[in-house]
């Protein structure tokens, strides 16, 4: 798949407007949580549904059937509605929060399709991927600065590094799967990931 960051237009203005827009989605999400506001939810749906589909389609393979993508959208947005009261804009941006929900839905779908029986007593995905653990919220300003710092950082990664990062997140592949697929030694994949993270880390506001 294409490395989209590189082709993006020149950008201080683009970034500034994206940042404000992300704040806007966060506000809508707060409104959905507090007031159960259906109109705000519909706007969020209109924004995130195509992005979730885009994310899912980039995965390739069997899960990119249109039905599967729409199903994922329905499941993610269902949980967005249910969990919206717990959304805290000081802790995460709307897109990061939706990402974690989408990731959990994909883990659930994988578990259901595996041969392992999932019993009612089993731990749920939310028990293990528990994003409420973080008890130290950043101030909103710092949160949104970090968000755009990481966006910028991702754009400036060398292609071989952003490629492995995208494979990991978008395609949901483990390091060993990426190494097999690209015909690279596992150590190379690991070190590319580490270098990329080091670079992103250095962009953050302390």
């Amino acid at each position: 798949m294409a490395v989209k960051y590189i082709n993006r237009g020149s950008a201080a203005t683009v970034q500034a407007s994206e940042k404000t827009r992300d704040d806007e989605w966060s506000n809508l999400l707060v409104r959905v949580g507090k007031d159960r506001d259906r109109a705000s939810f519909e706007q969020l749906f209109g924004h995130f549904a195509p992005l979730i589909r885009g994310f899912q389609f980039s995965r390739g393979g069997q899960s990119s059937a249109p039905e599967a993508a729409d199903e994922l959208v329905q499941e993610v947005m269902f949980r967005v509605w249910t969990k919206a009261p717990t959304f805290n804009p000081d802790k995460a941006s709307a897109s990061t929060w939706v990402f974690t929900i989408m990731r959990n839905c994909r883990i659930d779908a994988l578990r259901r399709s595996s041969r392992q029986p999932v019993t009612d007593e089993s731990l749920s995905v939310e028990d293990i991927w528990d994003d409420s653990q973080d008890e130290q919220p950043l101030v909103f300003l710092q949160q949104s600065r970090n968000q755009s710092a990481i966006a910028q950082g991702l754009q400036s990664l060398p292609p071989e590094q952003s490629h492995v990062i995208e494979k990991a997140y978008v395609e949901g592949k483990s390091h060993s799967e990426i190494s097999e697929e690209l015909g690279l030694p596992l150590g190379t994949v690991k070190s590319r990931v580490r270098l990329a993270l080091k670079k992103l880390q250095s962009t953050l506001v302390r």
Partner: protein, 233 residues
């Protein structure tokens, strides 16, 4: 002070959802103890959020989004009506016997949940001073267990045939390479022989996740091998 953490590669696999269930459980429990890794997770989730908002929007191949939204609202309303009629049952609580045990007094919520689904722990003596209770996690490829080492006890020297993760939940232990206390997260690869010893004054409780059974090294170890009975599922 936590000194041993999952590495960035493992944290990224956890954040992106490709790390297996049992190892993710151990990472999750570590994050509960570790503000540093919790902060790193925040960044890693942020990367995911950025990739989502940068993905190329795709329209549904089947129906208009307004129609899909209508379906969704119907499902939500149906669910909410259901809940009004039949409120969800309260969550199961962990058995008192275990929660009165000091070693289990400050365990992370995810480990508490794990206990709730294993209400009766069957402790088996593996060797002098070492006990094990295996846990059901809803997956069989990896073995998840609690290990308790009595104060001052030395565990027989052993190797691992698969990757082993150990998270210290209570007390501390040491081996040739260091001293590990509450929250420390250790990864041992096959071929790394070690001989853990619990601290003199306190017993040690660990959560461990093993890819394949542990093998004792040395002839004596093999003869008295307490781990030999561990079989892959």
């Amino acid at each position: 002070m936590i000194q041993y953490h999952p590495d960035n590669n493992m944290l990224l696999e956890y954040a992106s959802g490709s790390l297996n269930w049992a190892q993710s459980l151990a990472v999750s429990a570590h994050i509960h103890f570790c503000p540093q890794c919790a902060a790193q997770m925040k960044m890693l989730n942020n990367v995911g959020g950025n990739l989502l908002s940068a993905s190329a929007p795709v329209a549904s191949a089947q129906r208009e989004d307004t129609a899909l939204f209508g379906d969704l609202m119907q499902r939500i309303e149906a669910r909410e009506n259901e809940e009004r009629e039949e409120p969800a049952a309260p969550a199961k609580t962990v058995k008192e016997r275990v929660s009165r045990d000091p070693a289990f007094s400050a365990i992370p919520p995810v480990v508490k949940k794990l206990l709730a689904q294993n209400p009766v722990l069957k402790w088996r003596r593996l060797s002098k001073g070492l006990k094990e209770a295996r846990l059901k996690t809803g997956q069989n490829q990896l073995e998840v267990a609690f290990h308790r080492i009595a104060p001052g006890s030395k565990v027989a020297e052993h190797d691992h045939r698969g990757k082993e993760i150990t998270l210290v939940l209570y007390g501390s232990f040491s081996d040739g390479e260091g001293v590990y206390s509450k929250g420390d997260f250790l990864v041992r690869e096959p071929g790394q022989v070690h001989r853990p010893t619990a601290t003199q004054d306190q017993e040690c409780l660990c959560l461990s996740v093993v890819e394949a059974p542990v093998a004792l090294t040395g002839l004596l170890g093999r003869m008295m091998n307490p781990f030999l009975s561990l079989k892959p599922q």
